[in-house]
């Protein structure tokens, strides 16, 4: 059945100073289909999206909406024509109510004053299909990330779009919220509205999408029906080379405990958390978003306060007054949000890498420039970071390379134990794989690794042993063959209260 084509992109070219981002890309989205777009960072996904939604103008090529050629001068044009956009970084005004966000720019008025009654009623109607507890008067800042996303979707749909573009929609959602989102997307599909779904998570794509288009280096490689392909072949097409196994080989060694954590407790955050980290193994901390993993780990490193708990490293009991003393003892923490508190975005790559090392590397309080550049080059090679000049500012790098710089920052102090919080968040498959391999290498060289991740495939693929937390408590510890998605999920759900 050849369904009607809602959006057709024909031979689109787009260049920026120094790069040709899109080289003659063509794409067809059918009416009522969920079409996914994948590619590594830098493949051209964002550029293509921006051309379709009117943010950028293509240099060459044409775009057709419902068979008619269109030319969008700005995002407003695209919106009016019926293309809705749900951004990765949500585009809502936090201090303003839900209703005022949904109807921004078209608030119903009576005699020049905003008709609030009508506004709230209209908003209720728009929110109804989502069966959500969101009230139209609520301030957006009071909502959870998932709820905010619902508002943004509702806003897009209320504009009567024929195509909704989702950009990395589950990056800030937990499992159940993601499932709720998928239900909404399926509802959208049932209304014969098309969806363009951009994501790095192949498992999701295979769960809800109909077709998939792969971009690489600005060229469309192929379009497949989901039912006729596998994630391995997709990855190969994305990366252009056979990645082999998605995850590196695990280790069966069990060495001496290098980190021993006992009875960590903090009221309302976590209680009685105890575990070991043994030499030669990668320990995973799994659980839902909000289960307290980050809080525990930050407390262990002396960053956040705690009420009870003891830490010993290689048998020696450590007193943790502040993060500085943790670093002195070779224990360090890599944050989950590199933009928020992991990197100094406006500073150079070199300066970021030496941030923790600063005092040790300085001679008589002067920062030795040559030495720092040599250090940066060492890590560039080791982690395969792609940059033109070590003096480049970090915010000019892609997400994957930024993550690698953050990792270099920690490696630079030659730590004994690294705790990584969501180490591959927001980076593409190729870079992810590199980091996983690197983690295994580090572990094999004697450095203790703890990984916190909300991506079950990652936990299962990378970790030798997994501690599962739920609502601040440890619910299970899984080793070897027991490290599977099913066992992790069941240990969480068997202790679920509601």
């Amino acid at each position: 059945m050849n369904k009607e084509c809602i959006l057709k992109v024909e031979e689109v070219y787009k260049s920026f100073p120094g790069t040709l981002a899109l080289k003659g890309v063509s794409l067809e989205i059918k009416k009522g289909e969920i079409h996914s777009l994948v590619g590594e960072n830098g493949a051209g996904k964002s550029t293509l999206m921006n051309v379709i939604s009117g943010v950028l103008h293509a240099d060459k090529g044409r775009v057709f909406l419902q068979g008619k050629e269109v030319y969008f001068h700005n995002p407003n044009d695209a919106q009016k024509a019926g293309i809705g956009f749900v951004h990765q970084e949500l585009a809502l005004c936090p201090h303003v109510s839900v209703a005022e966000n949904v109807f921004i720019g078209r608030l119903p008025q009576k005699n020049g004053i905003i008709d609030r009654k009508k506004l709230y009623k209209l908003t209720e109607e728009v929110l109804a299909p989502f069966q959500s507890v969101i009230k139209p008067e609520q301030k957006v800042s009071e909502l959870s990330v998932a709820q905010q996303q619902v508002v943004e979707i509702a806003k897009a749909l209320s504009l009567n779009c024929k195509l909704v573009i989702f950009d990395e929609p589950t990056s800030s959602l937990n499992e159940s919220e993601a499932q709720a989102l998928f239900k909404i997307i399926r509802d959208i599909k049932s209304k014969e509205i098309s969806v363009l779904y951009i994501s790095h998570k192949l498992s999701e794509i295979f769960e809800i999408c109909d077709r998939i288009t792969i971009l690489r280096d600005g060229i469309k490689i192929a379009t497949h029906n989901i039912s006729e392909t596998t994630s391995e072949s997709i990855v190969t097409e994305m990366v252009g080379r056979d990645l082999g196994n998605l995850y590196p080989a695990k280790s069966s060694k069990k060495g001496e405990p290098i980190l021993h954590v006992t009875n960590f407790t903090r009221k309302n955050k976590f209680s009685n958390i105890s575990f070991n980290l043994n030499e030669g193994e990668i320990l995973g901390l799994s659980g839902l978003v909000g289960s307290g993993r980050t809080e525990v780990v930050r407390a262990i490193c002396g960053i956040d306060p705690f009420e009870k708990g003891g830490v010993s490293i290689r048998g020696k009991h450590i007193k943790l007054n502040n993060y500085h003393s943790a670093i002195q003892n070779g224990l360090c923490y890599m944050s989950e949000d590199r933009k928020l508190d992991g990197l100094f975005l406006n500073m150079s790559i070199t300066h970021n890498i030496i941030a923790i090392l600063l005092d040790k590397i300085s001679k008589r309080m002067i920062v030795p420039k040559k030495q720092t550049i040599i250090l940066a080059q060492k890590y560039q090679k080791k982690l395969n970071i792609r940059y033109a000049d070590p003096g480049q500012k970090v915010n000019s790098l892609s997400g994957g390379n930024q993550q690698k710089v953050m990792i270099s920052k920690l490696l630079a102090i030659n730590p004994g134990i690294i705790i990584m919080d969501e180490p591959t968040r927001g980076i593409d498959v190729g870079a992810k794989s590199e980091i996983h391999n690197m983690l295994r290498e580090l572990c094999n060289s004697g450095i203790g690794i703890i990984v916190i991740s909300s991506e079950l495939p990652e936990i299962v693929g990378v970790c030798d042993r997994v501690v599962v937390m739920h609502e601040g408590m440890m619910v299970s510890e899984l080793t070897g063959e027991d490290v599977t998605s099913e066992k992790i999920i069941s240990s969480i759900s068997s202790t679920k209260v509601s």
């Binding site: 993060y323 944050s335 992991g342 100094f344 500073m347 600063l358 309080m365 920062v367 920052k409």
Partner: protein, 325 residues
């Protein structure tokens, strides 16, 4: 093989990448333009006067640069400058040796810097409110101590006056002191590791904490340093005029912050250089000088100076944006 063409390319890349190059260009253009229309601009007298006039703002600027880099700023510098001058004159008037008096005044100013630093760095108060409050308190102290009249240091050791009003090989000593402090300050900000920490704190305080940096301590030292510079400016001013007036230094905080921003410092923190701030001070002084030389009616001065300021900052912003692309 690296040919001469390659090294020329590197020099050009170096200049282009040099943040302050736009401001330097604007200054050169301005000076050229002014010298053509009013040749007296280049007369020794005029140049000396301009140099002396900007020295104190410049010294305060060295300290202010650091507080801007840390993500804050210090509005109390003008008052600290005045207080420092007044205290020195007061102590000297009581018979204390003027050099010792100056030392005591600096010490007291450092206490003000310490209070600023503790409130902002350790307690976590907003720098705007804290230093604004301190600005009032210090200025109030000045009024109380002087009762409105100016304090003279005629009875003190006149060798002290050499600092502010003497000449060395024809160059005003106060300008030499400023240049030396500026060079040292610039070097420190560019190369030293304590200053590097200030950059980290200003760029992303949370990331700085996660890099093991004691952000409270860093901010404390920053405000101590800023107060020190303001205090030195006050002492030099006293040495120059021989009197401490009650409103010495008022208004300097806004001028210095403007100069620093023109020179590339970011109000949000994490960026800035002493050299850039010095250029900013230089630009503002040249503009003021030009207004006098061109006999621009005093009534127009504010309007024109303000417009030129906006133009200069816009030009600088445009060149910044280009670099970040």
């Amino acid at each position: 093989m690296k040919s001469s063409q390659g090294s020329i390319k590197r020099v050009i890349h170096g200049i282009r990448g040099f943040k302050e190059s736009t401001v330097i260009l604007i200054i050169i253009l301005l000076c050229t333009g002014i010298s053509i229309s009013a040749p007296i601009f280049l007369s020794l007298d005029n140049l000396k006067t301009t140099a002396i006039g900007l020295a104190c703002d410049g010294i305060i600027g060295i300290g202010m640069t650091l507080s801007l880099i840390s993500g804050g700023f210090d509005l109390s510098v003008g008052s600290v400058m005045g207080l420092s001058a007044v205290l020195t004159a007061l102590f000297a008037g009581m018979g204390i040796n003027i050099w010792l008096a100056a030392f005591l005044a600096v010490a007291i100013s450092l206490i003000i810097g310490l209070i600023n630093g503790i409130l902002i760095g350790k307690v976590g108060l907003n720098p705007f409110i804290t230093t604004l409050g301190m600005m009032s308190i210090a200025r109030g102290g000045v009024f109380v101590l002087t009762q409105g009249t100016s304090l003279s240091i005629n009875n003190a050791d006149q060798s002290f006056r050499f600092l502010g009003s003497g000449n060395l090989f024809g160059i005003p000593v106060i300008a030499i002191i400023f240049i030396v402090l500026a060079i040292l300050g610039d070097f420190m900000v560019r190369k030293s590791s304590p200053a590097m920490k200030v950059f980290y704190v200003g760029s992303n305080e949370k990331a700085a904490i996660l890099s093991g940096i004691n952000t409270g301590k860093v901010k404390l030292y920053v405000y101590l340093f800023t107060a020190l510079m303001a205090s030195l400016a006050g002492i030099l001013s006293l040495s120059r005029f021989g009197v401490a007036t009650a409103n010495m230094g008022s208004g300097s905080e806004m001028r210095v912050i403007s100069a620093a921003v023109i020179g590339g410092a970011a109000l949000a923190g994490g960026e800035g250089s002493v050299f850039g701030t010095v250029l900013g001070v230089l630009l503002l002084s040249i503009i003021n000088n030009a207004l006098v030389l061109f006999n621009v009616s005093v009534h127009w001065q504010n309007l024109i100076a303000g417009t030129i300021l906006i133009l200069a900052v816009t030009i600088d912003l445009l060149s910044h944006k280009r670099k970040n692309k």
